[in-house]
């Protein structure tokens, strides 16, 4: 019995989330005594590398119509592959692609779905974050087939050094009433949910013209930039940078909060971060209660010094 994994690609390269999902799936397969089989669709290069994360076979549907994202078609591919491989466990990443495909597949196969898993399953029980990261739930899947989507940055990738056999999977795709006309990337910067380090700033920076030092710090650290909700709402920063309960939820290794007071809604989106550093002039800012390291001080003085000290460390 095999575990099936959907490995997403972007412009022909497998995503970091795909490798995490593959590693998660391989660990589930090992626990169950089965094989890990990954599915890749459309144009994708270097897909053999999935072997390094424990996948033994990659089913590649090379039909280029799948280069245009269509969750209805991919759900059909996954259902076909699951039947062919006899898979009763199917793994996705809980990202933009997984959120579109996994629910469709769940309804198609009448299989229980747990989204945003943060740990390996314990039998049919899967742990996930709920209440926007303020609590956890253990959810039991009651159906024979289970579908799990893994929260990015929450389960370590294990490199096994193995190799994967790539097998072409040919199948007829259903016609659907949807067409991607164009994909516009607003930035070539590091994506927020995949970043190991995130530098985030809020109203304490007083105006959009002061973001230069935040961007410099992020650049030096190889980090992504983010912001609080008020800053996105008044238009100082683009909406796609807004992290928090009603923005993007992230869980990087290291999160810098500069001039952000730490409202409960903001904390909900970032409290999965492994290490939190807070820089704020207000010693009473609630964010310090959620922080690992804190500096009470003026960002305009602290951040340039921080940048200089990090440059020195990297030199």
């Amino acid at each position: 019995m095999s575990v099936l994994i959907y490995a997403d690609s972007n412009n022909g390269s497998l995503t970091k989330n795909a490798l995490e999902a593959a590693s998660y799936g391989a660990q589930v397969a090992q626990a169950k005594g089965g094989n890990a089989v990954a599915v890749v669709v459309g144009t994708a290069n270097n897909i053999e590398q999935l072997g390094n994360y424990g996948v033994t076979k990659v089913l590649h549907v090379s039909d280029t119509t799948l280069d245009k994202f269509d969750p209805q078609k991919i759900a059909h591919v996954m259902a076909t592959a699951a039947k062919q491989e006899g898979s009763e466990t199917i793994i996705f990443a809980h990202d933009y692609s997984g959120k579109s495909i996994a629910p469709r597949l769940s309804a198609k196969l009448d299989a229980g779905l747990v989204t945003g898993a943060i740990a390996l399953p314990n039998g049919n029980i899967i742990k996930k974050a709920v209440f926007s990261g303020k609590a956890f739930a253990e959810v039991e899947v009651n159906t024979s087939t289970q579908i799990i989507s893994v929260l990015p940055n929450s389960v370590d990738k294990v490199e096994t050094g193995g190799t994967a056999e790539v097998v072409a999977l040919a199948l007829e795709l259903p016609s659907t009433g949807i067409k991607v006309k164009e994909t516009k990337k607003e930035s070539t910067e590091l994506s927020l949910t995949e970043a190991d380090i995130v530098v985030s700033a809020g109203r304490g920076l007083k105006g959009p013209e002061n973001w230069g030092m935040v961007e410099d710090l992020a650049k030096e650290l190889g980090a992504a930039t983010a912001c609080s909700r008020p800053v996105a709402d008044i238009g100082w920063r683009p909406h796609h940078e807004h992290v928090g309960q009603t923005g993007i939820a992230i869980r990087p290794n290291l999160y810098f909060a500069i001039g952000i007071s730490g409202a409960i809604q903001h904390l909900a989106g970032v409290n999965g971060s492994k290490v939190i550093v807070v820089i704020n002039t207000d010693a009473e800012a609630p964010f310090f209660k959620a922080a690992d390291y804190g500096i009470v001080g003026d960002a305009f003085e602290v951040v340039p010094k921080l940048l200089a000290a990090i440059k020195e460390l990297k030199a």
Partner: protein, 246 residues
């Protein structure tokens, strides 16, 4: 155009999160319930805007017990024409999706709008399941939506950018920030909501594909280690040597 907006009851974003019954149930004691923000601010308001521009009707649907009625009345006060409550407990996304899909199909809705997720279970599941059960397209995380005739023009958030999509109706959409601006109900809306129709229907037979076994709270942070603002070097040392984060 017949528009169906699916709304869900959710605890207020500032609610204290606690559990009862041996950590198997959310403690509703003293918790204020609201319309799930994504359902209200984006799905409902965009549905109303499309109706105002193109004509048609907006029905709000919620799966839940009688304690869901106050949030349904709120949605009616904001401007929905009528409401349906499917009288069932909501313990599993696939169960809820089957109820919604059945109702939407039987009543010929062309546009089904949902929020991108609820702020309690954070599932992001129901809308995609409804689409599959209705055998229609689904676009998740939609930040812009327009409809002309039987074609929807959509912008969807993807990693670091947007995807521009064209799709045929009927369609299911999950709504994210940017799709509309929240509306506050006025007194006239609140008065009118009292007399708008709220139909209660029985659920169809379905089983729960998942069930929550227990809840837990994250371990509290052990305390913040403060570094003097004049000694930023020390922070870098700690992040490098102690936290091993840089």
């Amino acid at each position: 155009m017949k528009i169906l907006v699916c709304i869900s009851k959710a605890p207020d974003t500032t609610a204290k999160i606690a559990f009862t019954d041996g950590d198997t149930k959310f403690d509703e004691n003293g918790v204020q319930f609201i319309v799930n923000p994504y359902d209200e601010w984006y799905a409902l308001v965009r549905g109303l805007e499309l109706k105002e521009a193109n004509g048609g009707s907006v029905t709000v649907l919620s799966v839940g017990r009688v304690d869901t009625d106050p949030i349904i009345r709120k949605a009616l006060a904001i401007g929905a024409d009528d409401a349906v409550r499917i009288d069932a407990d909501t313990n599993d996304a696939l169960y809820v999706a089957k109820q919604i899909a059945n109702y939407a199909k039987e009543n010929g809705y062309e546009l089904v709008l949902c929020g991108k997720e609820t702020i309690d279970y954070n599932g992001s599941q129901v809308a995609g399941m409804v689409a599959e059960l209705m055998e229609v397209p689904y676009v998740s995380l939609t930040s812009k939506l327009d409809v002309a005739g039987s074609t929807a023009t959509i912008e969807r958030d993807v990693e670091g950018g947007v995807e521009l999509i064209e799709a045929n109706l009927p369609i299911v959409i999950s709504s994210s920030k940017g799709m509309a601006e929240a509306r506050i109900p006025n007194m006239r809306g609140i008065m009118a909501a009292r007399s708008k129709p709220l139909t209660v229907v029985a659920p169809i037979e379905a089983s729960n594909a998942t069930s929550v076994k227990n809840f837990s709270l994250p371990a509290a942070k052990t305390g913040c280690k403060y570094v003097d603002a004049d000694n930023v070097q020390e922070l870098v040392n700690l992040l490098h040597n102690e936290a091993k984060a840089i």
